[in-house]
């Protein structure tokens, strides 16, 4: 198969970028999208040009490293896959393919198609965890968790943190990512203890980082490679409302320590 590629090239975070057009011939339809880029890069290197920088690692759709906004879709035209699982058979021979980096204020471009998604880590660090230290834990079967709850929790926990939701959203909102984490933990009894603080802290961080608001367009859900549902966003809104309305004023510790 033959393709014309229009790829965003940007030397570094500060440089001005532009689209560069490349022609690529004789690509197997069984080739994955990233393997196609490997072939392009091999050709570029041999010509003495710099290869196109893109993020990738596991190449089996689970690490969440790969990104790319391909012809108007994060992770390309196929559904429920990441870019590394996208195959060239999903395109037609002779197609022009436009490849862009994720675009969002909190995801600045580092180079070419690579963006900095550290904002997601910061949101998790703000509260996306259960506060337990290692050791001294009761038996795993001491807590009964209805299968239904565990399944819904797992649905949300399947998020790979790739950022496609942000890339797809016309508002660059990170609500699906945050909602997936909030839901994952809020649905489990272990996570309930600090659910109220968690949702508030994570939303605060999300806002602070400059992500947009959710306007319920559903683009995130449509493009999510793990098909995480926007019912999680509703759940987060519910959790948030409950936390804001229901929580007491912060208790001032009365001390009593050392």
């Amino acid at each position: 198969m033959n393709f014309t590629l229009k790829i965003w090239r940007q030397k570094n975070a500060k440089a001005k970028g532009k689209f560069v057009t490349y022609k690529l011939n004789d690509i197997s339809s069984n080739c994955s999208f990233l393997e196609m880029l490997d072939i392009l890069n091999e050709q570029l290197v041999l010509k003495g040009d710099e290869p196109v920088a893109f993020d990738h690692d596991c190449r089996e759709g689970i690490c969440g490293t790969c990104s790319l906004y391909i012809n108007g879709h994060p992770h390309g035209p196929d559904t429920a896959v990441t870019t590394c699982q996208l195959h060239m058979r999903k395109f037609r021979d002779g197609d022009t393919i436009v490849v862009e980096p994720w675009r969002a204020k909190p995801f600045p471009v580092i180079k070419d198609l690579i963006v900095n998604r550290n904002a997601f880590d910061q949101i998790i660090q703000a509260g996306g965890f259960i506060s337990v230290n290692t050791g001294g834990i009761p038996d795993a079967n001491a807590i009964l968790i209805p299968k239904e709850d565990a399944d819904y929790s797992m649905d949300a926990a399947a998020c790979i943190g790739c950022g496609a939701c942000v890339a797809a959203c016309k508002n660059a909102s990170a609500m699906l990512f945050v909602a997936a984490k909030v839901s994952h933990l809020a649905l489990l009894p272990q996570g309930k203890a600090e659910a109220s603080d968690r949702v508030q802290a994570m939303v605060r961080k999300m806002d602070e980082l400059g992500f947009g608001n959710c306007t319920n367009t559903g683009a995130c859900e449509a493009e999510c490679p793990k098909q995480i549902s926007i019912t999680n966003i509703a759940r987060m809104n519910r959790e948030f409302l409950g936390a804001k309305v229901g929580s007491q004023k912060k208790r001032v510790s009365s001390g009593g320590g050392f």
Binding site: E100, A104, T215, N216, A219, T231, A234, R238, F240
Partner: protein, 221 residues
Amino acid sequence: MSSLALFYSSITKKIILALAGLFLITFLLVHLGINLLLLLNDGGALYMTAVGFMTTNPLIKIMEVFLFGGFAIHIILGIIVQVYNWMARPVRYKVEGYSHTSFFSKYMIHTGAIIFVFLMIHFNNFYFVKLGWVAPPAGLEKEDFYQMAILLFSSRFYSIIYLILMLFLAFHLNHAFQSAFQTLGLSHTKYTPFIKFAGTAYSIIVPLGFACIPAYYLFLK
């Protein structure tokens, strides 16, 4: 209130926006009920009774404050949210989203703006007249809403504009109704399909109800 709104979290803003929206949605029903009285063949008697009630009843007077507040909150927050959203993506895509999404949801600010412009015209035609800020049409009392309405609808131009506006109102409502429930966290595997259905039905029936009146004047009179 607007400077305060800037410091609300994104979800708080959205929740207030949704609550105000739902309030406006219920108001639309009342408004439609009264408007439909225009179609009665009683020379506007019942219509004017209803208008009289709405303009003089003290309870309604209090509600009116809430109504204007609802409009103001909905509009101001809508704009703030939109500005934030534009700022969240300073560099836009070359190929804009082809994602499968609910179509109307992408244009809420646009349909909202059109509705706002119409709202202003509407105020100019009725509410401001009642307040005495704008002179009533020649020969009419400033409370004679029935004759004012008939006069307006007898204009082809106004009726067509009104019909088009109803189309945009339908677009706006189509997304708004179910979106408000989602924002309030009211999502449920059993009931959400019904809410979505009700939202679609509402967004068709209510604008259609309003549209009946100009359509009647355009095509039947």
